[in-house]
């Protein structure tokens, strides 16, 4: 069969993620020696609003987690997808501003903001529409357009996509600390998009095109795992002040949650976010697999810091195709 005769479904059938999630990952997908999971993964939940001093909120989170950024080049990767005034699609610029200020005040050498949207290649339109351009101006931050950056070929550290390498942006690869800064949203295929799925925006469009179809063809969930294993961000800061429920990640409705979630273990942060919105992380294949070698998703291995989970738990409206991923008794 030539590649031209394959259907997208055939591609997906051939991939091993669902089987890996149901059993255990095999040695062909990753080298166990390349990964070490924490005995306990701290996740900080901090009450927040867009009117609050978000530099203070993020700063407290950094203190709670014991993150040291002195002298480091910090790369902030927010989620900028599409601009619509009445939707909660993107990481709010004020959260990015708060994070940048917190890192700079704690001695970071440089803070770079970068994103490579998958639906839009017109970064200027998104930066201006979302107001992110004002944050960049006010704080004099460098912006890296990851779709059009210089690129380097990188060996993947796991191979659920069956890919061996990916071309990734040089500015991202050269950072000392990569911080995933997603918006907390439902996702009509993957269930939820948060710290890990946000990494799709690191794949350069000038190489792979728009949309980032490479990642869809090789499996969305497989790609999420391989990108997280390879880029291995040191920190996640989730904008859950207002999330998106329903038909996310673009067509859903805003849903206030009032939280900033932070942690150094991305699967642990995302598992916590899933529980916050009424989804069961153990039913989500990408989180189940990531929980076997990248980080922790079991509640017994996640240490909740800051506020208790129950304070923010909000039962998001979940559309039918992903209803199977709900917790047995959603909040």
């Amino acid at each position: 069969m030539s590649p031209s005769d394959l259907s997208r479904r055939d591609f997906l059938k051939a991939l091993p993620l669902a089987a890996a999630a149901a059993t255990a990952c095999g040695p062909s997908e990753f080298r166990a020696a390349d990964f070490s999971r924490l005995a306990m993964s701290p996740v900080a939940l901090l009450p927040a609003s867009y009117e609050a001093d978000l530099a203070d909120v993020v700063g407290r989170g950094l203190d709670i987690l014991g993150v040291d950024v002195r002298g480091k080049r910090v790369f902030l990767k927010p989620n900028l997808v599409e601009y619509e005034t009445d939707k909660a699609i993107n990481t709010h610029p004020l959260v990015v501003a708060g994070a940048a200020s917190a890192f700079l005040s704690r001695g970071a050498q440089q803070v770079i903001v970068g994103e490579g949207p998958g639906h839009r290649r017109d970064m200027e339109y998104l930066l201006a529409g979302t107001g992110m351009i004002d944050v960049l101006r006010d704080l004099r931050l460098t912006f890296a357009d990851l779709n059009h950056d210089d690129v380097r070929e990188v060996a993947l550290k796991s191979h659920f996509t069956r890919l061996q390498t990916l071309w990734l942006p040089a500015t991202l690869l050269d950072a000392d600390i990569v911080v995933s800064m997603p918006k907390l949203k439902t996702h009509h295929w993957a269930g939820m998009t948060a710290s890990m799925k946000n990494l799709f925006g690191t794949v350069p469009g000038a190489v792979y095109g728009w949309p980032k179809n490479l990642l869809h063809v090789h499996g969305i969930e497989q790609s999420i795992v391989d990108l997280t294993a390879t880029i291995h961000p040191a920190l996640s800061i989730v904008d859950g002040i207002v999330g998106m429920e329903g038909d996310g990640p673009i067509m859903g409705r805003p849903r206030p949650v009032g939280v900033i979630a932070m942690g150094t273990d991305l699967p642990a942060v995302d598992a916590t976010c899933a529980r916050l919105i009424g989804l069961d992380p153990t039913k989500m294949p990408y989180l189940s697999v990531a929980g076997q070698f990248i980080g922790n998703i079991d509640t017994t291995r996640i240490e909740q810091r800051g506020e208790r989970l129950e304070r923010f738990q909000t039962s998001f409206d979940i559309i039918e195709p992903i209803r199977r991923l709900q917790l047995p008794n959603p909040p």
């Binding site: 031209s4 259907s7 339109y125 059009h148 070929e153 000038a206 190489v207 095109g209 949309p211 038909d247």
Partner: protein
């Protein structure tokens, strides 16, 4: 005629683009980065359109940058600015249009093989049934062995139409199928996004830049109802996406269709300050090309009809 602000902004962008060229040839997407095919082609087209010195001076200026384009050619005829990385077919189509416009003589050395390479690449045929979309139509992908999308299809179609006289056998059939694909992916309202008119049963919205790009490739089909609907969409949305690339492509497209582009160019002159601040050379070059449209009449994007 362009107003004073448009002329001042064109002069500023001309100076900035000239200064941002890499000494070894070509332009990067952003200052200080490696030269890439797409910003190089757009910068060459834009600066050529704005050029006021002699033709000999232009040749002296452009030769090192055209050499960069030539150095990108691989054995299969396609161009690649990053050795070992996948070839970007949208950039290859644009490069063919650029060489046809600026350098027919020196372009002759690489154009036939480039066109062979373009015609040899087909987007994947996907046999998955879809009530809205015919996924068996094969046009051009972003890079080989993947699915067909709007932007690379538009640039490759435009290149083959512009260079019909030297295009390889099979080109006409490829153009026909690619136009069917563009018709199939046209949004309900007219216009295009990256290439899915609907998802999960919902109609998706068109975006301005891919709409303008697709329309450039289809301006010899302006009588087709779906093309007419799309130009109507673009006219309605012409000021909605405020960026150098969106306004610039829109102005060029309206000019090629013989529509009034003055209000878009006036808005672009304002917005181009922001474009320059953000530093995307591709967007700056698109903006400059649009702001000097009175001089070059968007000739690089026209085909003989």
């Amino acid at each position: 005629m362009a107003g004073a602000l448009e002329q001042r902004r064109a002069e500023a962008l001309t100076a900035r683009l000239t200064q941002l060229a890499n000494p070894s040839g070509g332009w990067p997407y952003y200052a200080g980065k490696k030269s890439r095919l797409e910003p190089t082609c757009w910068a060459l087209l834009a600066l050529h359109g704005a050029w006021t010195d002699s033709a000999a001076e232009w040749s002296r200026f452009a030769s090192i940058h055209l050499d960069f384009v030539h150095r990108c050619q691989r054995r299969d005829g396609l161009l690649s600015d990053t050795p070992e990385a996948p070839t970007n077919l949208a950039a290859d189509g644009l490069a063919a249009c650029t060489l046809a416009e600026l350098s027919p003589a020196s372009g002759a050395a690489i154009l036939p093989a480039l066109l062979d390479g373009i015609v040899a690449v087909k987007g994947l045929r996907v046999n998955e049934p879809d009530t809205r979309q015919d996924n068996t139509l094969q046009a051009w992908p972003w890079y080989p062995d993947t699915f067909s999308w709007v932007e690379p299809t538009a640039w490759c179609v435009l290149a083959l139409k512009k260079l019909r006289s030297i295009a390889p056998p099979g080109s006409a059939a490829r153009i026909t199928e690619a136009e069917r694909m563009l018709e199939n992916r046209c949004c309900e309202t007219g216009g295009w996004n990256y290439g899915n008119a609907s998802a999960l049963g919902q109609d998706l919205r068109p975006h301005v830049p891919p709409t303008a790009t697709a329309l450039l490739a289809l301006h010899d089909r302006r009588e087709a109802s779906w093309v007419a609907k799309s130009i109507a969409f673009l006219e309605g949305a012409r000021l909605k996406e405020k960026s150098g690339a969106a306004l610039g492509l829109t102005a060029l497209c309206l000019r090629v269709y013989g529509r009034d582009s003055a209000i878009v160019e006036a808005q672009l002159a304002d917005v181009s300050v922001q474009t320059e601040e953000l530093g995307n050379i591709h967007s700056m070059a698109v903006a400059l090309s649009a702001l000097t449209g009175d001089r070059h009449q968007a000739r690089a994007f026209r085909v003989a009809q």
